[in-house]
Symmetry: D3
Subunit: 144 residues, 6 copies
């Protein structure tokens, strides 16, 4: 049941969102993925931007709820890393500027493990004033 | 007050913990850092392992409480990314196997911003059974 | 001090909100209760709907703050079951469609335990798109 | 994508755990399920009891991690309803006595939605002294 | 329904725990109260110390569960102020040294509001090493 | 590294916000501080009011981000004490009327500990209806 060292989906997603020159490594595996940017004080807009990208670029199938459900929880888990305590932005007077990646593939040695999804976020979080910010990262992983 | 693009401490810490071949890039900046591993169901042991490494390798000064305080909160923030909801391991029947890095330096353009600390975590989280796990990531950043 | 098996207020509230044919069982005990529906992305509207119903149907006395206070905390506790992590709806891009019941009575064998209040919630939670949702449940219990 | 009114897996799981005379209704649908009891101040023992039951009664396949992963998150979500704030028992000086049910089936109209899992909990929570307790409920739902 | 300016139970509890020369002011109102100390890495021991004091000094009646229930939730709320994020001590490698006070009385102008309980905590929180700590405060208020 | 008994910054901040006749004691130490009021259902407005006061009265330097960062986290920690579970106001249908104080100084015996910041909050929290409220307190402490 072990994770395959060549297909560590979380590591690859994280590397891909930190440094886009890494993206061809993900492509080589034949995995689906999409990247994008989202900046807002409204946390729901960040969620919406990621969901929209993943659906429009066919990383998940929008007509099947279980895929949206899987992605939603992966996004929420990634958000915990970015927000570190309460999953809130504007209501606690902070904003984010994030790059995101959604990767879909099987990171396990066994084929029966099927597809998993990784959502990685990287960017800045801080006061709604340019420069009053530091970096933040998040990773959510779910079976799909 | 902006972050300097060449000294993104969070990105560098994250890259360093994901791929140790990246560590010389951090050294080049003249920044202090330490790396290590911690695996446990006891969350306090992970905290202790990181604190001990950062002190014994002089990334922080152990005789000044404000440095320990800064590191502690950075560790806690990184733990939020790994645990995604409740900062608990064994009490919710899960365990982690993590690599960690603690990096200290000034990521801002202005010298007055002084030192900051970044704690990055990467590894697996899951049931206390080999293979029943997926990857997890955390990043905590604090002024020191 | 034990709970009385015939007057398990939480179980009765939950059964009543899941299946309204059960409501006469609650009536038989002579307990006050009210039922209603609330659907919204605004969590405060759900709280308001429950409070308004409980006051207008005299399950609690609106002129005594301690009764509002007791109900409020019972609603919040029930919301934890529905939201499972952060007590947020629209800010994390989700919406609920809930039935609710508020029941008031003494579930203990001893008369001195006085009145308690149970708030039970049942319905769906999910994306603000019909069908992209699953069920959710919550129960809050407080002394009043 | 809508939920089927005759196959509301959360409602059925909840009714089944509240009143075992309801279990034949779940059987009629041909769904897999298991029931059990768990009482402890150690939250991890409750998690373990549910996981063990679900595996030994073949509600989930223990040799596939994605099934354990799905169940684990459903258990955690159900625990939020029971604990209402922090997913802790003994560390905040309280104990639970719970009945649980794990149900597996497709609650949606479309076959493509595949199997989902519902974990429902019902029982008491309170001080580690008989009688100093009130009822609690939790429901977690996940795609599997 | 307003709070009475002369009987602000939270303020009086807080002042009493910060400075014991203030305690006679609470006595003058004829209110019941008890004070004590609790230091531990085990959060449950702090809860137990407060509950035991309140019962043995008759601030609450131990034979009525609703009073224990009210006190328990007030303690938990006060703990949130001390722990600021996760209600955990030893599991996140920190310890507390706290003074506590439990005050019981009616802070409202209307007699019908009955008794309320205030739990105030003051002390230090930090690493399990003398001196590596800062101050912390908590206040929980509940109807009883 | 111990806290100095004559310079307990948290205790002094708390006493100062509870009773303004105490403020001259803080002045005597030569510490910077500011006081103010903030009442709102919008949690971000409370954060903004405190930040604005601390900057305009020069308790912190607005042109250095590390000072804003330190204050922000101290405010968030103080908010945990006031909100006791989820750092939310209007979204859970409640409002606050708070007095605040921000104090800056070194509470430790050793000069090397440098400046620390304490944010203390005291006031009422409750339904958006006059009188339907009880008191609340929060204290956040950070190195600056
Ligand atoms: Mg997981
Ligand atoms: Mg920060
Ligand atoms: Mg309770
Ligand atoms: Mg879900
Ligand atoms: Mg309250
Ligand atoms: Mg601290």
């Amino acid at each position: 049941m072990a994770l395959s060292n060549e297909r560590l989906i979380g590591k690859m997603a994280m590397l891909g969102v930190l440094d886009e020159s890494y993206l061809p490594e993900i492509e080589k595996l034949g995995w689906k993925f999409c990247v994008g940017k989202a900046g807002s004080m409204d946390s729901q807009k960040v969620v919406a931007a990621i969901e929209t990208a993943a659906k429009s670029e066919n990383v998940i199938q929008s007509r099947i709820y279980r895929e949206t459900h899987s992605l939603y929880h992966a996004i929420m888990e990634a958000f915990h890393g970015v927000t570190r305590g309460q999953v809130q932005l504007g209501t606690v007077l902070r904003t984010v500027g994030l790059r995101f990646i959604v990767v879909r593939g099987n990171p396990y040695e066994k084929k029966e493990e099927g597809d998993w999804i990784a959502v990685a976020l990287y960017g800045t979080i801080g006061a709604p004033v340019k420069g009053l910010e530091h970096e933040a990262v998040g990773l959510g992983i779910n079976h799909i």
